[in-house]
Symmetry: D2
Subunit: 346 residues, 4 copies
C-alpha cells in the first residue's frame, strides 16, 4: 500500500536528503514540496540549488514549490516530512496537525514536550502511542512525531545496548560534520585547519533527548531515564558523519566482549529503511574505526557504527558514528514515517 | 650566561621547531645538530627538508650534521635537546647521560621511570630534584629530564589549577593536529574529510603521565596523583594545535567563576619561554573558543588556552588547547632546559 | 561469454579500485590477485588494508595473494589488469606478455613506445591494432595495452571533440586529487591548507600522451597529433577527482555553443563500462561546475564532465573533470579490457 | 612625519587586516574606523568579530565605530583606506573625494576608469599622476587611487619582469584561497574535499587590470599594454595565499635562467611596506615551490614568490604566489598610501 507524502522545507540540506531518500521508496510517493514564500511557484529544480552527488529525480524537479502553510497544501497527503527551521516549524507544525496532517519532523522544536513522541523505531517504538495523549490534550486530528537531533541519535543506540549493564553516567564528546549546520551554517574561514568547540544548543539536546529516548512510557506518562549525561560538542572539517567518543559508567562490570556483543546483537526494525542489525561493531583488530569518510554510508547511511571499546575504571569507553543527514536527520524522519505506516497511524 | 646546546634528531618535525625556537634565544646557542647516519656529513640546510614558514637560520643551515652518538658529539655542549624516535632515544640517551651530557628530551621513552623527572616548569619544578636519585641509582654524570606528551601537556596545566577543588576523575577527548605525528605520520588519504579515533599509545600516555606530573615528590620518592584519568584520542584535519574536551569530577563544588579564576590566575614561571600567565581563559562571551587556528600561537605558542567552562552534575566540563609542537614538544624541552640552567644543573 | 581475469598489484589504491569495479562485472570474473612478495600467501582480506567505502567482495577477500610473476600465475587467465608501480611493471609486464598473457595496464612504463597501444575506447579504438605490430616486433603471444595517465585522460576526450575545429595549441592547468599519488603519496602536512604546484613527471605525461592518443594509425605506424601542449600540474586537498582548466587555441572560430555541442554529442562506446555520452557538459547557467565532490561520480565515475566554456582571443577556455582512480585509472583499464574482449583479442 | 588615517569598512576580513597592518606603522596613525550603520556607535572591539591570530590593538579596540559617510568623519584625516563592498564604495568614495579626502581603496569599483590611478608602487608609480587628470575632470580636492584585485597583483609583478622579452600573450590559472571572498563568502560545504572553477567577475578583472597596470601613461592619457590575457579562476580549500600557473608567450626567446634573473632582480620600492626585492624566485632545486602555507608570509606577506620556471614552445610557464589579503588587499592599499605620502599627495 502506497502513501502520498510531502516534504516541508524541501530546498535545504536536509530537505534535499529527503528528496533523495524518497526517490524509489517502495511505499512513499513524493507528491508535494514546500519552501519559503520566495520560492513558491518555481519548479523544485529551479528553487533547490541541488548539491547532492546524485541528480534531482526528474519528476520531483518538475514539482511546483508551494508555500509552507495548511492552506497551500493538497488534501490528499497521508504524511508530511518536515525539515523546517525550528522557529518556522514551531508556528507551522501545530497548524498542520490541527488541520489533520500527520507530521514526521526533524525540526528541534517540541522534541521534549510531554505529549510528543521522540522516536527511534529500533529503540522506543512504543513511545508512538503518546499520539493518543497528544490528540486528547491538543484536540488534533493529525499528529506530530519527532526524531532526535543528529548527535543524539548517533549515541543513543549504543547506550540502549548498555542499559542492561546498569547505565549510570555518560560523558560524550562529538566531532561533528559541517553538513549538520546546513549549507551555509559553517563558513570555510571558520573551519579549514581548525575546529570549533561549540555548537549552540547542541549539548543540551544530547543531554535531554537521550534521557527521553531511553525512558519508559506506561501508556499515560513518559518517565525519562535517570542516567546523567554531559556532552561537549565540536565542529570539525568533515562533510558528513558525526563521530563521538563515549565514556559510559555502568553499575555492572561487563567485559569488553560482552559490551561489543550487546551492541552487535541489537536488532534492526522490520521496516524498509532500518538495517538488519542496528549497530556495526569493529573489534580490537580495527581500533582506528569507525571513521567518518569510511563508515558513514554503512547500511545506506542508516547503520550506527561503533568501535574502540575499552574498559575504564567505572565502565567502558568507545567511539560511535552515524551519517548525520541520513540516520541523523532525513532518514530518521522517513524511518519514523515507515513506523507510523506500519502501526496504522496513517 | 650563555650555554652551548645541541639538538638530537634535528631534521624531523619537532627537530625543526627546536632550531626555530633556539634562533635568537638569549642564553642558548645552537652549536650542534644530529640526525640519522644517512644525513651525517651533510650541511643542515641539505639534510633538513625545511618546512616551517620562517627560513632556516643561516648559521644553523651551515652546521654539519653529525651522527647521533656520544662519540660524534663535541665535548663542550652544556645541554642536549632530543627529539629522537623513542626507539632510538631509548638506546642513545642513556649512553649520552653516562658520558656526562645533560639531556632535555621530548622522546616518550622513560617518561614514567621512577627516577626520571617528567617536568613542566610552571607545574612541578621540584620534581627536577629526582636527578639526584637518578645519579645515585644510575651512576651518571649527566642527567635525563623529560617533558610530557603533547596531548598530556595541553590538559595538565588546567588540571593543576583544579587540584585545589579536589580533583577525583577526568574524562578527556582530544582533537589532535596532524603535525603531532611528524611530517609523514598521517597521510592525506587518511585525514581529508575524515577523523581517526585512535592514536597508538596516546591514551595511555595521557592517563599515566598526567598523574605523575600532578604527583608529590618528597625528596626520595614520587607519589602519583590518585585521580582516575580516562582518555579518547582523535586525529583531525588541522595542522597545529591540540584541542581537548575535559570532564573533571571534583570533590568540592566550585562555581564556574571560581574555576575560571583558578585557571586564569595560574602563574607562569620566571623563565624566558614561559608566558606571564600560564593559561589564557575565555569567558562565557566566547563559548566558541579556544580554536586551533586562532589560538595556538598565543604566548608565542607557549600559553595554554581554556574556555567553555560549564557545570556538570559532578564537577565541570571545559575545553583547552595548546600548540602541540611548541608548548607540546620543542618548546617544552627548551623551557625545561631553561629550568635546568636556572636551577644550576648545567 | 565470460573471461577469467587477474589483478596485478591488487592491494594498492588503484588495485582496490580494480577489485571494486570488477565486483559484479557481467563478463569478467576476478580469479587471481597479486601483490608484493611480502603479502604472497596471505588472504586478500589480510593483505589489503581495504580503504574504500564499500566492503571487500567476500569471494575476493578469500583469494590467496600470489607473487607477481609469470610462474606464480595460473594458466587459465584470459586477461591481466596491472596497477604495478612503473618500475616493477617495466620488468614484469614484458615477461607476462612473453608468457602469453594479455595485459591491460595502468602503469606508466611503455606508454609512449611505438608498438604499444595507448587507448581510450571512445577516442582511438583503432590504435588497438598496434598489437599486430607489437607481436611482430617482440615475438609475443600475449599483448600489452596501456591506458593514459589520469590527468591526461581527463582532458583528452574534450580535446578530441575540438579537433574538428583545428586544434593548434593547448595550455592546461590541473587541480589534482591526492588519491592520484596512492595511499601514502601525499602527506597531510604537505597538503592541508596548501597546494603543491608540482607533480613529478606529470606535465610531460600530459604533453606527450595526449598527442599520441589523438594521433593517426595507418595500420603500420602511428603519427602523433601536432598540437602543442603545455601543462602545469598542481596537487590540492581533494580526495578524488581531477579538475582541469584548458585553454585551447583553434584554427577555426567556433561559437561557444558549437564547442559545447561538439563535446556533448561525443558518443560513448558500446561497451559495459562506457557511459552513453562520453562528456557531460554544463551550460552557462552553471559556470561553477564541474566540481570534484559533486561531479566525480557521474556515469559511475566513467563520464568526463566539462563546463565554463568561454571564448578567448584565439579559441576557447573551459574546465573539465574526471574521477582519477576510476576513469583515470582502474576503470580505464577495465574498459580497455572490454574493448579487447569485444574486438576478439582475448 | 606622521599622518592620521581612517579605515572604511574596518570590520570585514580586509578591514581587520588594515587594522593589523597599521598597528605600529611608522608614519600612519589609525584614528578612525567606519562600518555599516548597524555598528556605528559601538566600540571597534564590539563591532568587529575579530578573527586574526594576533589580538586587536588595544587603542583601536576602543575607537568608536562611525558611519561610512563624509559627514560622519573627522576633518583632520590625511588619508582614508577603503575596503568597502564595491557597491557601497561606488556611492561613498566619490562623495569623500569631493569632500577633500584622499582615498586609497581596495574596492573594485572604478579600477578601470580612465582617470583613476591603478597602482602598484614597485611597478607603475608614475600612474599616480593621473590624479591631476582626475582632479581636472572631476573637480575634486581629494583623490581616489586604487590597488588591483588580489589575483591580478599576484601575477603582474612577474609579468612586469617579462615585458623586456616581448610579452605577447598570457594564459593564467589561479588556485585562490577562501579568505579572498571575505569571512562568509565561501561556505564549508562548498569547498571541503572540493574546488570551484568559477569566481564571479574575477577572470575579467585579471584580464583587464593587468593590461592597465602594465600600460604607459604619457602625462595625459594611459595606454593599456597590448598583451592578450585570458584567465581561469578557481577557489580551493586554503585559508590565505593565491597560487597561480602562468603560461607567458614571448616574442624573444629568453633562457630559463634569464627569466628567473629578470624576476629575482626586480627591485622593491623605497617605501616602508615594500620588500627589498619584489619577487623571491625558487630555482630548479625546488620545483614544488611556491606553496601557499609555506610561502605566503615571505616579506611579511608583501613579497611575491615565483618558481617552476620552464620553457614552453612559445615562451615560458611558471608559478607565482602572494598573500591575498596582505599584498593582495590591505597591504597593497597601505603601500599605495605610503607612495602618496612619499610623493607629496597627502
Amino acid at each position: 500500500m502506497s502513501h502520498r507524502v510531502g516534504v516541508l522545507g524541501a530546498t535545504g540540506a536536509v530537505g534535499q536528503r529527503f528528496v533523495q531518500l524518497l526517490d524509489g521508496h517502495p511505499t512513499f510517493e513524493l507528491a508535494c514540496v514546500t519552501a519559503s514564500d520566495a520560492s513558491a511557484g518555481d519548479s523544485y529544480a529551479e528553487a533547490a540549488k541541488w548539491r547532492l552527488d546524485t541528480p534531482i529525480p526528474d519528476e520531483v524537479g518538475e514539482l511546483t514549490v508551494r508555500e509552507t502553510s495548511a492552506e497551500a497544501l493538497p488534501d490528499d497527503l497521508d504524511l508530511l516530512f518536515s525539515s523546517l527551521p525550528s522557529g518556522v516549524a514551531a508556528e507551522v507544525e501545530p497548524d498542520l496537525c490541527e488541520a489533520g496532517y500527520v507530521v514526521s519532523s526533524n525540526s528541534s522544536n517540541d522534541r521534549l514536550a510531554d505529549d510528543v513522541p521522540l522516536t527511534i523505531p529500533e529503540i522506543n517504538p512504543g513511545h508512538l502511542d503518546l499520539i493518543e495523549v497528544q490528540r486528547d490534550e491538543r484536540g488534533w486530528d493529525g499528529a506530530l512525531i519527532k526524531n532526535p537531533n543528529c548527535s543524539t541519535i548517533t549515541m543513543v543506540p549504543t547506550l540502549a545496548a548498555l542499559t542492561e549493564f546498569g547505565l549510570e553516567r555518560v560523558h560524550v564528546s562529538t566531532l561533528q560534520a559541517v553538513s549538520g549546520a546546513g549549507y551555509s551554517g559553517v563558513t570555510s574561514m571558520e573551519i579549514i585547519d581548525n575546529a570549533v568547540p561549540h555548537i549552540g544548543g547542541e549539548e543540551a539536546k544530547m543531554e535531554t533527548e537521550s534521557r527521553k529516548l531511553l525512558g519508559e512510557f506506561d501508556g499515560a506518562e513518559l518517565t525519562h531515564h535517570d542516567a546523567e549525561v554531559a556532552a561537549s560538542c565540536n565542529r570539525i572539517p568533515t562533510i558528513d558523519g558525526h563521530l563521538e567518543n563515549v565514556f559510559a559508567e555502568l553499575a555492572d562490570d561487563p567485559s569488553v566482549d560482552e559490551v561489543r556483543e550487546a551492541m552487535a546483537s541489537y536488532p534492526g526494525a522490520d521496516l524498509h529503511s532500518s538495517p538488519e542489525s542496528l549497530i556495526h561493531v569493529f573489534g580490537a583488530d580495527h581500533p582506528e574505526r569507525p571513521q567518518p569518510r569510511m563508515d558513514r554510508m554503512r547500511g545506506d547511511g542508516m547503520q550506527v557504527v561503533a568501535g574502540g571499546v575499552q574498559p575504564t575504571p567505572r565502565g567502558v569507553k568507545y567511539n560511535c558514528l552515524a551519517h548525520n543527514t541520513i540516520r541523523g536527520a532525513a532518514g530518521a524522519s522517513v524511518l519514523n514515517g515507515e513506523l507510523l505506516a506500519d502501526t496504522g497511524w496513517l
